[in-house]
Amino acid sequence: MSAMIESDKPPRAAPDRPAGGLRAMLSMSPLAAIMAAVLILLMLPAVIYLVQSSFYETKFDGSFGAFTFRHYVELFTNDRFLKNLVNATIYASGSAAVAIFLGVVQAWIVERTNTPGRSFVLIISIISLGVPSVLYTISFLFLLGKTGPLNQLLMWMTGSATPVFNIYSLWGMIVIEGIEFAPLSFLLLSSVFRSNDAAFEEASMMSGAGIVTTFRRITLRLALPGVLALLILIFIRAFESFETPALVGRPGGVNVLTTDIYAAIQVEIPANYGQAGAFSVMLLLIVVVLLYWYGQLSRHAEKFQTITGKGFRPRVMDLGRWRWLTAGILVLMFFVIIGFPVGIVFWVSLVPYYDGVHMAALKLMSFAHYGTVFTSNMFQGSLANTLILGAASASIVAPFTALCAWFAVRRQKGGAVLDQLASLPLIFPAIVMGVAYLQVFLHMPILYGTLLAIIIASSVRYLPYGMRYSYAGILQIHKELEEASALSGARQATTFLRIVMPLVAPAMVTCWLFVFLVAVKAVSVPILLAGPNSQVVAVTIFDLWQNGVIGELSAMGIIWTLMMTTVSVGFSLLARRYGLNVR
């Protein structure tokens, strides 16, 4: 189907009427207009309530009281905000640096050397897509905690009677988050390294430059915009992340903006909605600025990537005997990123109580925790809820974004508006979106605390993700395939049903699986919206950790990881098959 990819963009026909705001809205097709209205209806109240909550007193019943600047004044007079902002910045930059370092090493080995078995690195990406980030963070607390194997080893080596290092600290957060983002960093850096044509480097060498000069002045300069853009992307993702700061930072007294928002609502009694609102608005503003910067940079990076000559091929270096060393590094990476974390969770799920990794525990191992988990109503309930949440969100997002993408790719009236609306949720950090929808549902008591509320918020949150897959999918269908149907005498609806639908089906399934995978992983939105009957797996794991029930937690985590890895494998196969590797 690759031959069908549309390459030439004809000049856009002059619109019949001047394009612009309301006029454009009025002239679009009824379907596009309805879809735009639905999107606005879903998002606008959340934004309004969020901003409102930061400017009003909130009464005990959740309704708004008097207007006030108090929340913002407190924000700036209290040094807590500034301190947490500094923490968040250090934490996010550190994580980005760690992730980029791990990513560069992996991407260079995989894309530019002849290291044996390098294609197996893919397994890391596939499994990491199936592990909820809350479980991942916990696995590192098992590994690096006071009784964890690393501390034990160091204590044995140094003869120290107390743990050598404390993971519940700022640098602990940085290491864990950095490793968690390594697969994403690897994936995006691979494409940067892959798009460097060897001819650029060879041309430099032929001009008389040595290897070092070539690397410095050509290779590095060409890769720099891409690496820089990625650095900012991971910085943003870490800046708005919740799991690691909540599980690692908070117990160690290191707070960031997201954990403050969470604490204001879930820990303080009564919930301080005003403060959470003000923090959320500030976080939102910061992320918008960062995203704008990222957009500028990545556009610049793409410009660099498109300058490739014909007969394009990346240079693969023959490392000779050194390739066994790079192979060793890849194996080590695999263990650090996937092997050890999953292994330790499996260990913890088998032992009655976790007090480190040692031989004595082997005799006590059993599947008792699995038995408990399987028979517990709580697990069954949250498992069912999570599957419903994932399936429902994916089933809403996939067809909806397919239509949006069709309108946008075919340059139909309203297509650009739909594209922008569906991409808008990208600017909301997950926790901010949670706060915003919490406000919406506080004012809609029927939905408050229900699974439906989480499904609605999740669907909005993952619209931009779905949009990327759908857009890529529709882009692969040559316009003439549809035109040929129309000229065969078929009406628009028939064409959509018999030509467009079957052709985008693979992309739709891929999109569905991806949205499913990310929706079931999330903690931030459900943790604020879930009621007693709408718990989901990730939140349950979070709660079990808070209550110290780590055996069951681990058993549950292993079962869940197995299930999701299966889905993830299916997703990866499809995405690869249809060339839809976007992220």
Binding site: P11, A14, S485, A486, L487
Partner: protein, 372 residues
């Protein structure tokens, strides 16, 4: 059969400046003919074709198919494409990859107004597939076909519905050179066999000359000349057409008096006085174009008996700059008073680079351009 009047459509580029389009095309297409829109990219030929198909909405003019208007700007009428009795072969073939060969060809008979079913449809489809030589491939998945077969299938699909008009949008541009010539002949055969009226869009002048009953040469959204292939080639009316179709020698001279159709006149040019024929009446002009095709120029080595036999009128002496041997023909570039004149002659002509040569332009084929 098809009437197009004052067709107008203007494109705007991404930065808001006016782009290409078609600015007032008018022509009629006769029943059963193969009509070609020929021109360089951006000349408006594809816009014209897509407007007829209904894939593009024009901004002015009108189009009528078999006496029924399908687009009329004045009446605000624009018949949707699925209601127009038109079949189209796309540049990319647009063969649906999720269907078999049979399903692709049968599709037009399963949707829209000309729906049919069962044996009737099967016979019809198999008949058309037989016509294009794809009968044996009917049950193949479409992606397994080769380029030439995809082309045939696209044609079969367009013909299945027996449309009043068949549109072909650069159908051969994706084929390699050898296959292109073969398909060109076959397209013409099938068009004559089925008797379908067809509009063919191409930028390849030799393709247009080989296949068409009539050609409309377009430039910048306007039709420059319309006529049969021999007429377009033999009597170009403008510099653009003369140079776009085949290769030509172009001279300029001053015409002092209005000249009637069929007359001859002597004009002073860069290489000396040239006598040319006027295919139509022309007003006096300070810079009149004169064209002569390279194959119409007679050539001989200076001093040879052949040179003596050349006529005295339109006879010039020059030096051979270069020779290009092309097999069936040889091309010479002759320097006459600093101007390069291209000559195509039999390869056994005894003229070599550096030689002094004599050339002669037959008056009947030395044509004044009646348009700028």
């Amino acid at each position: 059969m098809l009437e197009v009047r004052d067709l107008f459509k203007q494109y705007t580029t991404a930065d808001g400046t006016p782009g290409g389009g078609v600015f007032g095309a008018t022509f009629d297409i006769r029943e059963g003919e193969l009509f070609t829109l020929l021109g360089p990219s951006g000349c408006g030929k594809t816009t014209t074709l897509r407007s007829i198909a209904g894939l593009e909405k024009p901004e002015g003019g009108r189009i009528a198919l078999a006496g029924t208007p399908i687009y009329d700007a004045g009446l605000r009428l624009n018949v949707p494409m699925y209601e127009r009795d038109i079949g189209m072969v796309f540049q990319s073939y647009a063969i649906w990859p999720h269907m078999t060969v049979f399903e692709n060809a049968a599709y037009p008979l399963t949707v829209g107004k000309k729906r049919m079913g069962g044996k009737e449809m099967r016979d019809k489809v198999m008949g058309v597939l037989d016509l294009v030589g794809l009968k044996a491939f009917a049950e193949r998945p479409a992606p397994q076909l080769s380029g030439g077969q995809l082309q045939r299938l696209a044609l079969a699909r367009a013909l299945c519905r027996e449309p009043a008009l068949l549109l072909l949008d650069e159908p051969l541009s994706n084929l390699d050179a050898q296959l292109r010539e073969q398909m060109r002949a076959e397209l013409k055969r099938l068009q004559k066999e089925t008797g379908v009226t067809a509009i063919y869009v191409t930028h390849d002048q030799s393709e247009a000359l080989a296949i068409s009953d009539r050609i409309a040469v377009m430039k910048d959204g306007l039709i420059m000349q319309l006529g049969a292939p021999r007429e377009i080639y033999g009597r170009p009316t403008s510099e653009f057409v003369a140079q776009f179709i085949g290769r030509t020698n172009l001279l300029h001279g001053r015409l002092d008096a209005d000249t009637p159709e069929g007359a001859t006149a002597r004009l002073e040019t860069a290489i000396g006085p040239v006598v040319c024929t006027f295919p139509a009446a022309v007003k006096a002009s300070p810079r009149m174009g004169i064209v002569i095709r390279p194959e119409n120029v007679a050539i001989a080595r200076a001093g040879s008996p052949a040179a003596g036999a050349l006529p005295a009128e339109n006879r010039f002496e020059g030096r051979v700059r270069s020779e290009t041997f092309l097999g069936e023909i040889a091309e010479y570039e002759i320097d006459i008073a600093g101007q390069a004149i291209l000559v195509r002659a039999r390869p056994d002509t005894e003229v070599r680079p550096g030689d002094a040569a004599v050339v002669a332009f037959p008056i009947a084929q030395t044509l004044a351009l009646i348009e700028d």
